[in-house]
């Protein structure tokens, strides 16, 4: 019995070194591969073309640097402690250390809260802002599985809608604009979001059936459209071009193909476009 136990222990300490080394190497491999993946980023953020995109991207990169550093440090320490343990013939007896607990708690609290508060400022800049006076008003409505964009026309007012009573998609009135409301007579309903560059675009999000999510990656914009609510969000596009819109909130079978296009054009082109669109009624 005693002999086999010694052999067991011997076998054990032979594999012990190999295992400790393997763990350290695998942690190094994982860390290196991950850092390389994020650094080389074969797939990455699309170019940000809205006013807030730069600040959001900067905050995100700062996050990756900070948390990336913690990631590398933590995995490395884990591997190192395990590797060093193979030298220990007797285990240490430390049960803890209050000075150490307090120190690392204070440090991590400071670090995380400092970082979070810098993000708060950004959130405040984006959300707590009234739209400019000359902002372009667009109402965005999500239905299964299509986005509609409604512009108020020359009177600057959107007509009332009642989808249950008036919606006739096959007759060009998918949103159910009330035919008796004069304000709705010059409304323009489009399947694309066409906006002039450099202007604030004030979106009012609505949904007629289930929750949808308006996601314009290039604008760093995402907002759920909730039935029964009118939710405001805004952005200012800075670059002319065509950008994809996706649905980001699971809305049923067609969720994956509920796409639209945001076309950012010059001011003149935008005016031309408005003139050329057929009205609802």
């Amino acid at each position: 019995m005693a002999i086999s136990k010694i052999t067991q222990l011997q076998n054990y300490s032979i594999t012990k070194s190999k295992m400790a080394l393997a763990l350290l190497l695998s942690l190094l491999l994982i860390t290196t591969a991950s850092v390389y993946l994020f650094a080389a980023h074969p797939w990455w953020l699309p170019a940000g073309v809205s006013l807030h995109a730069a600040a959001i991207d900067h905050q995100f990169l700062a996050a990756l640097w900070l948390l990336g550093a913690l990631f590398i440090a933590a995995q490395f320490v884990l591997g190192l402690l395990i590797l060093r343990s193979r030298f220990n013939r007797v285990a240490g007896v430390s049960r803890g250390s209050w000075p150490l607990e307090i120190t690392w708690t204070v440090l991590i609290t400071g670090l995380f809260f400092w970082f979070n508060i810098s993000g708060d400022r950004l959130w405040s800049q984006i959300q707590m802002r009234q739209p400019e006076d000359n902002s372009v008003q667009v109402e965005v409505t999500g239905v299964q599985f299509q986005w509609y964009f409604r512009y108020p026309g020359n009177d600057g007012t959107l007509g009332h809608t009642n989808a249950q009573r008036f919606a006739k998609p096959e007759e060009g009135n998918p949103l159910g604009v009330d035919p008796n409301d004069p304000a709705g007579k010059d409304d323009i309903v489009s399947a694309s979001l066409v906006v002039p560059v450099g202007h604030d675009i004030d979106l009012t999000l609505r949904a007629n059936d289930v929750i949808h999510g308006l996601f314009i990656p290039a604008m760093r914009l995402k907002q759920d459209a909730v039935p029964g609510m009118s939710i405001h969000t805004h952005f200012r596009p800075l670059q002319i071009g065509t950008y994809e819109i996706a649905c980001s909130q699971l809305c049923g079978m067609g969720h994956y193909r509920m796409r639209a296009t945001a076309r950012v054009v010059s001011e003149e082109e935008f005016k031309q476009w408005l003139k050329s669109q057929s009205k609802v009624y």
Partner: protein, 575 residues
């Protein structure tokens, strides 16, 4: 035996039905939960495999299943999430291992309410069967995700699976909530009232602490989900409108509801949903602390701080639910509050991580399979946890919400870390439960493939999210910028296939060892806690009427001057 005791007066042994099926014995109930979870994880894993294959090879024909149609994908996704979150992560760490080992580690004879143990299991089993039944009703299983946001989940016409399938989902989860609340009551009372003599609260193993705090979370969180599921069932079947506003048009037909708020569901669901993820991970943290100590032959570093961190995580976990709702239409001012509180919860999580590292430091490590999986847990917890502070910032969440970045985050920290803790606990407690050791070589191989596989699957997934790939897309062909991400999706799928295939090593090892493994003996790991006093497998009577008397803490390893490097909790008190 005295002359007056005859065969006729001895109680007859319980029937098979009473011993193995309808039993109040906490150990058998624990095993029942374990095997129920095993069935659930097998089904849930097959579903995820089908999902991964469908995304990258939509035309592939699977044996027995045929081609996976687009409408099936969302049902697979919903059921995968539901099975894994509820029937695996909320079942086996708490009700599986907890039912078996909480009384034993406390030196108790039984749970406080043995009948509740039995009732809890059978209601959970019923809940599982009802959930699976959803696949087979007209329309199939629900396609609204495990989060079931109304109006999608409230209006039967909004998609296939939103009829009967959703009603069954709600019924199943409602029953699961009931069972959970029963079981949690049992755990709380047992911990507070049935500890053996000398087992002060601060002498409890950390596993007991995490089961206790998780039970409190279960009691408070699952009761809210129960209410929410009842409200949604009423909206669907009794004409109420808790969650559905007026004016909706679904499939060309007017929806006859008014006055409800879809956001109300989200608040109720996530008020449950966030504590739920702590319910899923706390026992895993407890077992990790426990095993790192056992296999470093060192006391847990900072036991009191660990207890404090556990309680802090439990408490703060109730205050952060809004971080799932930053872009939901919720008041943006609430975003500040939830963001700050979410950052707060990172602190005790970090404290725990530092203490795990402190436990390993200067340890004399025994490289057993449970130790390997515990180290894997720490690594995965760090990785998954560190993307939390990113998502906690609403300004960044604007972009990352509902993308694969979130999917990568929660799979790393909940699915992978949580799963590794379950594996660690299984390899560790298998000897006590079945009287035999699992095969070490197979276990080591299982660890390596799973560890590297977990990273191979979920690290690249972050890039999918950063590129803007939304979640829950059943095809890649709908949106152009998503279609170009197909190679990355393919890599993830291949990594998943290999990792999932390697789990057969575990299954084979598990079932073979149950019958043919090396006999374990009473305390093969040389562990200090009370369950290792009993024979392996644990006899039904447990401690019986000979309650142990505890004089020592749970982590007396390498005590200077002691004759061996561990001291059982009920060893004679040192003068």
């Amino acid at each position: 035996m005295s002359a007056s005791t005859s065969i006729a007066t001895l109680p007859s042994p319980p029937s098979f039905l009473r011993r193995y099926l309808f039993t109040t014995d906490h150990k058998t109930v624990g095993k029942q939960y374990f095997f129920l979870s095993l069935a659930a994880v097998l089904v849930g894993t097959v579903l995820s495999l089908l999902m991964r294959i469908h995304i990258v090879w939509p035309k592939a024909a699977i044996p027995f299943f045929g081609q996976i149609k687009p409408e099936n994908y969302l049902a697979l996704l919903t059921m995968h999430g539901t099975l894994m979150v509820f029937f695996v992560l909320s079942t086996v760490p708490q009700n599986g291992f907890g039912s078996y080992f909480l009384p034993l580690q406390l030196g108790a004879k039984e749970m406080a309410f043995p009948w509740v143990s039995m009732a809890g299991f059978w209601i959970t089993m019923l809940s599982f069967l009802i959930l699976i039944a959803a696949f087979f009703v007209p329309g199939g299983a629900s396609l609204a995700g495990w989060t079931q946001y109304p109006p999608l989940s409230a209006i039967a016409a909004s998609g296939p699976g939103q009829g009967r399938g959703t009603d069954l989902w709600l019924l199943s989860i409602g029953l699961f909530c009931l069972a959970s609340v029963f079981s949690a009551t049992n755990f709380i009372v047992t911990t507070l009232k049935h500890r053996t003599r000398g087992m002060k609260l601060m002498r409890m193993p950390l596993t007991c602490w995490t089961w206790f705090v998780a039970a409190i979370l279960i009691l408070l969180a699952f009761s809210v989900l129960l209410v929410a599921t009842i409200m949604l069932l009423l909206d669907r079947n009794a004409g109420t409108s808790f969650f559905v506003p007026s004016g909706l048009l679904v499939g060309g037909a007017a929806v006859d509801h008014q006055g409800g708020s879809p956001l109300l569901w989200q608040h109720l669901f996530w008020f449950f949903g966030h504590p739920e993820v702590y319910i899923a991970i706390l026992p895993g943290m407890g077992i990790t602390s426990h095993l790192l100590s056992v296999f470093s032959r060192k006391p847990v570093f900072g036991y009191k701080a660990m207890v404090g961190a556990t309680i802090a995580i439990g408490f703060l976990g109730f205050l952060v639910w809004g971080h799932h709702m930053f872009v939901s239409g919720m008041n943006p001012y609430a975003g500040f509050a939830f963001s700050t509180l979410t950052t707060a919860i990172a602190v005790p999580s970090a404290v725990k991580t530092f203490n795990w590292l402190g436990t390993i430091w200067h340890g004399r490590i025994r490289f057993t399979v449970p130790l390997l999986f515990s180290v894997g847990f720490v690594s995965l917890f760090i990785t998954g946890g560190l993307t939390g502070p990113i998502l906690a910032q609403p300004a960044l969440d604007i972009y990352l919400h509902d993308t694969y970045f979130v999917v990568a985050h929660f799979h790393l920290i909940m699915a992978m870390a949580g799963l590794f803790a379950i594996f660690a606990a299984t390899y560790f407690w298998f000897p006590k439960m079945f009287g035999r050791m699992m095969n070490q070589r197979l276990g080591v191989l299982h660890f390596w493939i799973s560890f590297l596989g977990a990273y191979a699957i979920f690290m690249p997934m972050h890039l999918l999210g950063i590129a803007g790939h939304p979640r829950r897309y059943s095809e890649l062909t709908g949106v152009q910028y998503v279609a170009v991400l197909a190679p990355l999706q393919t890599f993830v799928t291949v990594a998943a296939i290999i990792t999932i295939a390697s789990q057969f090593l575990f299954l084979a090892n598990f079932f073979w060892s149950m019958f043919k493994g090396a006999p374990a003996g009473e305390n093969p790991w040389q562990c200090t806690t009370l369950e290792w006093r009993l024979p392996s497998p644990t006899p039904r009577r447990g401690f019986g009427d000979e309650a142990p008397v505890v004089s020592h803490g749970p982590y007396e390893y390498s005590v200077p001057g002691a004759e061996s490097d561990f001291l059982m909790q009920d060893a004679a008190p040192t003068p």
